[in-house]
Symmetry: C2
């Protein structure tokens, strides 16, 4: 069972970056504290635009599914929805060990 990687690209409404970063930092803390199968959940900002990249790793496809179904992830939905500029795009990949 190989480690699953995700690169998520998240576009945020201009001017809502600080609000997004606060909500996502809070989500990140909960993911790292509550999800044993999560191996990485780091996020990064692009230079000249309100777009963020999330680097994620999960111990298995099951762990990735549990992330998506977790209470803390669902609870962050409305606050994230209020600041995003469209649906995030995900690249789901398998780690080469």
């Amino acid at each position: 069972m190989s480690v699953v990687g995700i690169v998520a690209t998240i576009k945020v409404q201009a001017g809502k970056e600080a609000e997004f970063e606060k909500v996502f930092s809070d989500l990140r803390a909960k993911v790292r504290a509550n999800e044993a199968g999560n191996l990485q959940y780091d996020f990064f900002k692009m230079k000249d635009e309100p777009t963020y990249i999330v680097m994620e790793q999960y111990a298995s496809e099951q762990a990735m599914a549990e992330h998506g179904q977790s209470e803390h992830f669902k609870a962050a939905g409305p606050a994230l929805g209020a600041v995003l500029a469209g649906r995030p795009t995900l690249q789901i990949v398998s780690k080469v060990e």
Copy 2:
């Protein structure tokens, strides 16, 4: 000085995946062993195509520059060039801590 992230997308010639993975695994071992400023150098394969994603993190822009100038990175150039299907694309981003 924030941590620099890179998401590199590397297209490999069909049928050359195993060769690429061997060369890149070797490079990864050298990066991790020799570059104090490198914090992450993981690579992943896309599901249905000979394309790889590399998640990289560097302690600083200086560390990222040192990576690109390192002997082991330059030495891997020809072997990688022989199996790639075009220039890699890089997204360079700043980590949100």
